[in-house]
Symmetry: C2
């Protein structure tokens, strides 16, 4: 690397650890990644794991800011960054970064807090930073943000604040049904029938309350009607994604913009299903939002940070 | 046993094999059961398994009728009894019993066919006999029959016929979510909070299309609001059962009678949830219906049977 990083951005989730060496203009100079997710680590393992990944980016003679989002800040993680309760103005998160006491030499490590909602109860950890990044890129954004994944997260943003959010377990449900339920006998995970997906999304949107009574049809369609495994897996996916969209997006608010985050094949399926609902969708890259969010939160926290550094020294 | 059985009734499902020695008046004299369900058996194992269970009930010198319902009649079972397509007058099923070619000595074995529905695709195997039994006990019954289980079955009965039916995977979904999903960290399978169940049924019935977005709350309720594991498991159950009832029972048909089959703890939960919907429910014992159904089907098949016996001899 030609120049030493000004600071380091880190996304430390359940299954992955990713880090970006950041330049003075908040642009990534270089990236590192490892499979050392929070789920694999004891508390004592976080500091050496981070030191090993960041390696040459750190200089004990000149400590650098490291700002982390994700599950590393959970109670079971490295150092708890307590949830902030919605509604939360995202700019205010920068005042609640938690400084890690056992940072590796050459690093001043702070963790971004997650968000919680009291009713209905829900939690987010990691995605709040992507939401802050979205506001950094589109300051005037107001609407609904969809972050597809094993657990999809949906957030409502108004005037720079997260007003409410929802977690939908669609990805995990799909995985359990496709691989561990009786439906596994009828699906082929390596195949895909796009028309079957589209039709299933349509069925789910037309009658979302009946989706639970249609799941067994993924198997029965093979027994009764020669439905091929490629259609079965796509139908299962379409029913569950359609059910999620119907649960989260009120038809009465059909003119509200939707921001869709991610570049995965899964995100493409959500885009296709949203298109079927005639929703206006803007897509964002997930990594761009992580980096933009951490940059924004660090920039806003800078005065506070200066005080902390003096205390630390 | 004081008297030899006139015939033998058998329910041979995926996980269990049960048999009743029947008297001349179609009342059970004695019962046997084993864990030798269809899922554990190769095709060649069915005849010796049945012979071993029936033991002293069989007399090679005087062959007896054995009438079987359940998965033993599936393609992967002992001898396929092809599905009949709804609408199916249940009395007509007796004309489609399939005689097993490799019956044990002293037994003339016939299997009851299952039912299939082309759209939406669905299948039943075993429950059709309970439905025939219900009609034997209540010949004028017209309405909806609910048979809770790992896969709940719902059937609409009109004029002695099954007009349509639905399978809902609620029991399997509950098991996967409670034991294999992220929710497992928050539930206690050995505890129960009845008020939490009731409230969750109410939530699901009030807004069934949003149940999928409430499942993660079973975990988040523990993280955010100290929801105890006993409430979490009951809430998960209530959300899924409420979702099933909303999917299957149209509010516009709220005056149609519901017959609820079974004596299990699960059936009691369905009764409680149906009560919340103000549905008029009549309960039936599942074993009573199996025996009554096999008796009815055998009685109606008797002339055909005589022909078959002559052919066999």
């Amino acid at each position: 690397m030609r120049e030493p990083p000004t600071w380091i951005a880190v996304d430390w989730g359940t299954s992955r650890l990713r880090a970006w060496a950041m330049g003075p203009d908040d642009r990534p100079l270089e990236a590192q990644a490892s499979e050392a997710g929070m789920a694999r680590l004891d508390r004592e393992a976080f500091a050496p794991t981070l030191a090993a990944l960041l390696g040459g980016w750190l200089d004990p003679a000149r400590p650098r800011d490291v700002v982390i989002c994700g599950m590393a800040g959970s109670r079971q993680g490295w150092c708890e960054a307590p949830y902030r309760t919605v509604p939360v103005p995202l700019s205010g998160l920068s005042g609640h970064l938690v400084t890690v006491p056992d940072a590796p030499a050459g690093a001043i490590v702070r963790i971004v807090p997650g968000l919680r909602q009291l009713s209905p109860p829900d939690v987010i950890r990691g995605e709040e930073t992507q939401l802050a990044g979205l506001l950094a890129l589109k300051p005037a954004f107001a609407g609904v943000v969809c972050l597809p994944g094993t657990h999809s997260k949906w957030a409502e943003m108004v005037d720079g604040a997260v007003t409410r959010f929802a977690t939908v377990m669609t990805g995990e449900l799909f995985d359990l049904l496709a691989h561990r339920s009786i439906l596994r006998h009828s699906v082929d995970d390596t195949a895909w029938d796009q028309a079957a997906f589209d039709a299933a999304v349509g069925d789910a949107l037309a009658d979302p309350a009946r989706v639970s009574a249609r799941l067994f049809g993924v198997r029965a369609g093979a027994l009764v009607g020669d439905q091929p495994p490629a259609a079965a897996i796509a139908r299962l996916s379409g029913l569950l994604i359609g059910q999620e969209l119907a649960a989260v997006l009120a038809p009465s608010e059909s003119d509200r913009p939707v921001a869709l985050v991610g570049a995965s094949r899964l995100t493409a399926l959500y885009a296709r299903a949203l298109d079927r609902m005639d929703r206006s969708v803007t897509r964002f890259d997930g990594d761009d939002l992580v980096v933009a969010g951490l940059s924004r939160l660090r920039a806003a926290a800078r005065p506070h940070d200066t005080v902390q550094r003096e205390t630390v020294r």
